[in-house]
Symmetry: C2
């Protein structure tokens, strides 16, 4: 098993960064930059984590170039931090030990679309909106939708999911294969285009969610889905959070193949009404979407209405016209900004957890009580069909007491979720922010993760300081 | 990266087996046996691979006992071979270096069923039929069905799937979490009961499909599904294999959520008619099953009928009564025995591959031509909705020439599938039989697998000689 202390110490602060940067500038000219603004932008964090810029940023344009950069960095023991669009939430792109940020945003070619196999191959910098724009005329779509227009490489690295995951799964399910540059600069391919395989260890799933700590993903083979023949959806108010969650639980238990089922608490509805010009009743509300045949979506939504009524919810308000649906889901996607607009001067600290669906009502209710007791301004919104929800804390980052209070709340939430058989993060990832909860969640499994890290990145060059707590 | 030579040599033939067996007999009394018959039964192989019995078999009754046995074996460098029901097909339970077979079939308790979360926790020796018998009154079922009444631990170890995988996924999707005894005898838990998580490396998916080479699974948390409200199904003949495959491709591309779609070639239909007393037209035939609401299954099957007609298939014969459906699927499950009955004195060599669905018609057609040219008696049957199919070669194991001919055919088939973007095994696993194709399929990815093996089992104690070719 790995010696964790060894991993922690392997990558010293990048003393050879200067030499590496000189090589990179010679090789990549102005595609290698050390400008302060660009370095800070590449360590952007949307949370309260401190900005820790890399020593340099290189804009790579091919897998070969990524391999060259990694080889060079490995030779000098200089950290490598992969960068897509910078929309990650837990400090994944920070460079606590300095190093080189490899920006793959220019690797944005859709390499092949195999409509007949419902798959495609893309470079890691392609974003989810770009792939869907590309697919529009094929009758196919890529369903994973974390809100932000993230790069697909970044989404795979954090095992992202989002609103559609309840029906279409997460990046774990969507990624069929990868091209990865390993810590020693080799280019390997994992997985393949067959729907299933029993041929050896599942390297694809090992890299998905590894947050750049085991290698840099440069290409992805992704599973696509046929655009549904019919889509219907709408909103359904509930008397309280508990009733709304119970309706979700029944919906999932009945096996209704709902495509999206999202909870907004009263405060979040108020925020969305104001920000997105909606006129929803300010009470806990579910946003729903059904995909299927015309008859199928009618049947699904009728069954859901019956369930909602059982828990005192309704009436269901349909958004049948595409423009009404778009307005609704734009509002849902803008929930972050709507929340922020509740107190424009505030800073945001956002966190997520996921629990078994039967514990959802309890976890959300206990969390709402905790928010009230702690005196936080913090709307709740969630992909509740998966048992996953987010809390967005509006706070003041310059007020150490306020930050401490929010961090303590986040800690209690993570532990509450783990103690209910859930996880400290359903989709945001570990990064720097959630490391301290992994021991409680994984116990000795953490030693296995350390051993794998040690085996695949013995000199701790790949995105050091992420995922694994250094004890 | 791992030194593959080091792995190959680490476990010497079990020179200390005698000492270990003495300890095991003292500890487990008659639950530790060295009887020749039992040892040979525990190295049972349904393929042409030679029977390589372990030095002893121990019937473990708890995770703690498994940990004790592994610790003892690890101390003496004696191999450990996990054993469920022995239904594996590629020599997974063979003991090429001797060692101790840990039989978990007595670990057959269903530990919890969480109906409201659609999950359960079972010991590794529970079989798929047992769990479904247990679940009958809950309205839930466990969908993965590889045909054999395999242990759930064994199914996870080989990443099994089967007839329902086209709709419900494979063991990769069904396993939410595991209890695993690692190579040093530690007990770890992976995954959890949340529907999704981004909290660290996906150890669960790493163990699923690792065939006991990284640890012994002792408990599994499994995802369940609601029993469908309605089931319909039937059989549909086609003029040739190409037409049948094209109908499958269209069905998948249209997004029809078919629950089962199985191809039997003419020879297999003939075999099933004879063995299971059916009266099907002896032409390539699809067996289908649809799950959903009453209206949903009607709609699905009507759409399928239209597709079949486009390719010259039909008429579709419905099996609406449950007893007709049972007869049909029993026949499908007995396809192996039906095939064998074509030539009762023959030995069976069975193999499987999986290709992207667009290549299915080509791969099956080319394979049928190869069978004809080679002069084999070999029915084809497959889970074609996944692009996965099996060839069952009837041969004579005592005839070295015949075995060589069959092995050469299997090699051509594996390479044909890989060259079409597929895999050398869709669901049977690598074991001993498919190792030689992994380099072609995974390239340098194989070095990563070696590195992981070396990290988690540095002394090569866990099921040595499986999956990884020792070059």
């Amino acid at each position: 098993m790995a010696d964790t202390a060894e991993i922690a110490q392997a990558a010293s602060p990048s003393e050879h960064a200067g030499e590496v940067i000189q090589h990179l500038k010679n090789r990549f000219a102005d595609r290698c930059t050390t400008s302060k603004a660009l370095r800070e932008q590449h360590a952007h964090t949307t949370t309260w984590l401190q900005n820790q810029p890399p020593d340099a940023v290189v804009f790579a344009e091919s897998t070969q170039e990524v391999a060259e950069i990694v080889k060079l960095c490995a030779e000098f023991g200089v950290p490598v931090i992969p960068f897509g669009t910078g929309s990650s939430l837990e400090g994944h792109v920070n460079a606590p030990l300095g190093g080189v940020s490899i920006d793959v945003s220019r690797m944005n070619r859709v390499l092949e679309v195999n409509a007949e196999d419902l798959d495609c191959r893309v470079e890691a910098g392609v974003t989810r909106k770009q792939i869907n724009a590309d697919l529009r005329d094929t009758g196919l779509f890529f369903p994973i939708d974390p809100g932000a227009d993230a790069s697909l490489g970044g989404m795979a690295a954090t095992r992202a999911s989002g609103t559609n995951a309840v029906r279409y799964g997460t990046m774990k399910d969507a990624v069929l294969g990868l091209t990865v540059v390993t810590a020693d600069g080799r280019i390997i391919k994992t997985g393949g285009r067959a729907r299933k395989s029993s041929a050896g260890y599942d390297l694809t799933r090992l890299f998905v969610g590894s947050e750049g700590t085991l290698g840099v993903m440069t290409e992805l083979t992704l599973r696509l889905h046929g655009q549904p023949e019919a889509i219907s959806g709408g909103v359904c108010p509930f008397p309280d959070v508990h009733a709304a969650c119970n309706a979700v639980i029944s919906t999932i238990q009945m096996g209704i193949p709902v495509a999206r089922i999202e909870l907004l608490d009263s405060l979040q509805v108020r925020a969305c009404n104001a920000y997105s010009k909606l006129d929803l009743e300010e009470t806990p509300t579910l946003f729903l979407e059904f995909h299927g045949s015309a008859a199928g979506v009618r049947e699904q939504s009728e069954t859901f209405s019956d369930i909602a009524a059982e828990y005192g919810g309704g009436p269901f308000r349909w958004a049948t016209a595409p423009e009404d649906r778009t307005k609704l889901w734009s509002a849902r996607h803008d929930a972050y900004w709507a929340g922020k607009a509740l107190k424009p001067a505030a800073d945001i600290m956002v966190t997520d957890v996921c629990v078994p669906i039967s514990r959802l009502a309890d976890c959300v209710t206990d969390t709402a009580a905790d928010i009230a007791e702690t005196g936080l301004l913090a709307p709740i919104v969630g992909h509740v069909g998966d048992g996953n929800f987010h809390v967005q804390i509006l706070t003041d980052r310059s007020d150490a007491d306020a930050v401490r209070k929010a961090e303590a709340f986040i800690g209690r939430l993570a532990e509450r979720a783990i103690d209910m058989g859930g996880t400290c993060t359903g989709e945001h990832g570990v990064g720097q922010g959630k490391q301290k909860y992994l021991r409680r969640e994984h116990g000795e499994g953490l030693e296995l993760m350390h051993a794998i890290k040690q085996a695949l990145d013995p000199h701790n060059v790949m995105n050091p300081g992420k995922i694994l707590p250094q004890s």
